[in-house]
Structures are given as structure tokens and as C-alpha cells.
């Protein structure tokens, strides 16, 4: 596709349920990022994948959060036993290989997650 695609665009679930969010990066982009954005706030880094290197998980807020990426394609972010504070927009971005500090990141429009 032409851009980063995320699904679902909206997700409403009950507290305690598990959710899985999906990200399809731009073809050929080896770097993939997940961010969380709470209402009215900035972006909070969660995890970074670069090619076949071990992912940087330093931003994951708890062990309820995990993410996987298959090769250089699709990534899924899983939140187990969801809590109300997990309500936010989850954004995925991708960039070409290289130093992420000097590569533009291309974002999807996010998944808006609401925990009841």
C-alpha cells in the first residue's frame, strides 16, 4: 500500500480482556515503531523494530504489553488484561533502514482503544 495501515481503527473492549492491534508498514521499510498517545498528550514511545535486530522494548509500560513483527512486514501489539488506563490511541510508524534519528517516520492513523 501507499502508506502505513493500522487495524482496527477503533476498538472498544471490557476491562480485563486481551486486545491485538495490527500494523502494516510501508513496503521496504525495515524500521517499525509503536507509540501511545493519550488524549491531549504527546507521543509515548513503546517499542522499536529494526530488521532482524532484537527489538528495543524499553518503552513498554508493563509486562501486559508485548509486540511481534514478522520479518520486515506486519507487526502486532498485544495488550493483555486491559485496564482503563490503557485507553489511548496506539500509533504505528515505519521508516527506511538506517539511523531512526535522521529518518522521517511515516505514521498510520492509529487505533483508538477504549476500555470500559
Amino acid at each position: 500500500g501507499a502508506g502505513v495501515s493500522q487495524s482496527p481503527s477503533n476498538k472498544v473492549t471490557e476491562k480485563g480482556k486481551d486486545v491485538e492491534l495490527r500494523c502494516d508498514p510501508i513496503s521496504g521499510h525495515t524500521a517499525l515503531y509503536w507509540y501511545r498517545q493519550r488524549l491531549g498528550q504527546g507521543l509515548e514511545f513503546l517499542i522499536y523494530f529494526q530488521g532482524n535486530s532484537a527489538p528495543d522494548k524499553s518503552g513498554l509500560p508493563s509486562d501486559r504489553f508485548s509486540a511481534e513483527r514478522t520479518g520486515e512486514s506486519v507487526s502486532t501489539l498485544t495488550i493483555q488484561r486491559t485496564q482503563q488506563e490503557d485507553s489511548a490511541v496506539y500509533l504505528c510508524a515505519s521508516s527506511v533502514s538506517g539511523d531512526p534519528s535522521n529518518q522521517p517516520q511515516h505514521f498510520g492513523d492509529g487505533t483508538r482503544l477504549s476500555i470500559l
Binding site: D99, Q105, G108, D109
Partner: protein, 112 residues
């Protein structure tokens, strides 16, 4: 710890004027600084990247400056239009950083 501050208040300006947004950072020395635009309900969109050895960079009606002494970047939109209304995010970063840290953004409204 690293800190990024953008205009704390929302910025309202009249159409046709120049909008100036501020990004200040403390406790680190970035080699690069990126600016993004975010519209409601959408993901951020990359606008410009400036390197520490570049004092100024331009793209159409946009101009970014990077003052490593003041630890500040200014983002200017000349001849502003209502379509420029959005939240603008800055992201200073060191070389070889494995992640970008974004400021909380400045909400710009251009009034017709």
C-alpha cells in the same frame, strides 16, 4: 533527564500572518530535529528535518531554525492559511538514537 518544551499555550493567529512555534530542549545535545504536523484523528505527518550544522532550512512556506547554543528550534509558517491549523510536534534526537522523543505539541489555529 531529557526535556522538550513547546509553546505551552495554543496559538491563534490571523490568516496571512507568520506563525512562529517554539521547541526548547534541555539536558541533551541533539544532532537532528524533526517537525511533524498532526491533524485531529490522524497520525503525525513529517514536515522537515534539520541537522545541527544547519542553521536554517526552508520548504515552501515553512522555515525551521536550529540554535544549538540556545537549545531551541523555531518553526515558522509564512502567509498562514486556515488549512495550516493543526498541532505541530517537534522531535530532537541524537545520532544513532533508537527512538524519537516528541514534544507535546503546539495547537495552531489560523483564523480566517
Amino acid at each position: 533527564s531529557q526535556k522538550i518544551e513547546q509553546n505551552s499555550e495554543a496559538l491563534n493567529i490571523q490568516e496571512g500572518k507568520t506563525a512562529t512555534l517554539t521547541c526548547n530542549y534541555t539536558n541533551y545535545s541533539p544532532a537532528y530535529l524533526q517537525w511533524y504536523r498532526q491533524d485531529p484523528g490522524r497520525g503525525p505527518v513529517f514536515l522537515l528535518l534539520i541537522r545541527e550544522n544547519e542553521k536554517e532550512k526552508r520548504k515552501e512556506r515553512l522555515k525551521v531554525t536550529f540554535d544549538t547554543t540556545l537549545k531551541q528550534s523555531l518553526f515558522h509558517i509564512t502567509a498562514s492559511q486556515p488549512a495550516d491549523s493543526a498541532t505541530y510536534l517537534c522531535a530532537p534526537s541524537r545520532g544513532s538514537a533508537r527512538q524519537l522523543t516528541f514534544g507535546s505539541g503546539t495547537q495552531l489555529t489560523v483564523l480566517p
